[in-house]
C-alpha cells in the first residue's frame, strides 16, 4: 500500500512568486493534515481536512496560504505571494479517523523562498 506522497520534494522560488504544494494521502483516509517546520522551530499544525471540508484551519499563518481538497482526495497548499519567512519544510499527514489514530506523514516538501 502506497504511503502519503508529496510533490515536489523541493521548491526554490523568489519572494513574491506563487508556489503550489500537493499531497496525496493514503487511499481511504478521510483525514488530511498540513504541518510546517520553519528552521530552528518545532513542527506546527496548519490545518485539518475531513474529506473535502476544512475541520480546523486555526494554524494557517495568514491569508497568503490557501488549502484545498476538492473531491476529498488529494490536497493542495498554495502560497501567494511567497515571503522569505515562508521557507521551511511542509509536511502532509493522513489518518483513517480522528481521535488517537496514527497520522501517517509524507516525506515533506522543502520550500526555499529567496
Amino acid at each position: 500500500e502506497a504511503g502519503v506522497t508529496q510533490f515536489p520534494s523541493h521548491s526554490v522560488i523568489e519572494k513574491g512568486q506563487t508556489v503550489t504544494l500537493r499531497c496525496d494521502p493514503i487511499s481511504g483516509h478521510d483525514n488530511l493534515y498540513w504541518y510546517r517546520r520553519v528552521m530552528g522551530k518545532e513542527i506546527k499544525f496548519l490545518l485539518h481536512f475531513v474529506k473535502e471540508s476544512k475541520q480546523d484551519e486555526s494554524g494557517m499563518p495568514n491569508n497568503r496560504f490557501l488549502a484545498e481538497r476538492t473531491g476529498g482526495t488529494y490536497s493542495t497548499l498554495k502560497v501567494q505571494p511567497a515571503e522569505l519567512e515562508d521557507s521551511g519544510v511542509y509536511f502532509c499527514a493522513s489518518s483513517f479517523a480522528t481521535g488517537v489514530y496514527e497520522q501517517y506523514f509524507g516525506p515533506g516538501t522543502r520550500l526555499t523562498v529567496t
Binding site: 509536511f91 516525506p107 515533506g108
Partner: protein
C-alpha cells in the same frame, strides 16, 4: 511559548551505550506520542501512551508516561547506529481538534 520541552536537544553516544531523553510540559497530556524522524522523511509513530504511569516497550526502547501525565521519557538500551534520528515528543489534542503539537525534538547520533 514552547508547550513541550525536550531534552537534551542533541546527544551523540557510542554504540552499545544506554540513554534517556525527556519530554516535559506544564500542562496535562490527554495522550502523548513519540515519533522518530530520519533525514528526508516524515515522522513515524513509535508509541502512544495514555494512562499516567504507563510503561511501554518496543524492543530496546522503553517509554514511560509520568504519573501526573505531564512528562515522559524514552530510554534506549544498547543503542545501535540504526537508532540515529530525531525523536519527537508529540501531544495529541483533546476533543475535536486533531492537530498534533510537537516538541522540537532530540537529535540522537549513535556512533559505531
Amino acid at each position: 511559548t514552547q508547550l513541550l520541552e525536550q531534552s537534551p536537544q542533541f546527544l551523540s553516544i557510542q554504540e552499545g551505550e544506554n540513554l534517556t531523553v525527556y519530554c516535559n510540559s506544564s500542562s496535562v497530556f490527554s495522550s502523548l506520542q513519540w515519533y522518530r524522524q530520519e533525514p528526508g522523511e516524515g515522522p513515524v509513530l513509535l508509541v502512544t501512551v495514555v494512562t499516567g504511569g504507563e510503561v511501554k516497550k518496543l524492543k530496546r526502547l522503553t517509554f514511560q508516561f509520568g504519573d501526573a501525565r505531564k512528562d515522559s521519557s524514552l530510554h534506549i538500551t544498547a543503542a545501535q547506529p540504526g537508532d540515529t534520528g530525531l525523536y519527537l515528543c508529540v501531544r495529541h489534542p483533546r476533543g475535536g481538534a486533531d492537530g498534533l503539537t510537537f516538541g522540537k525534538g532530540t537529535h540522537l547520533i549513535i556512533q559505531p
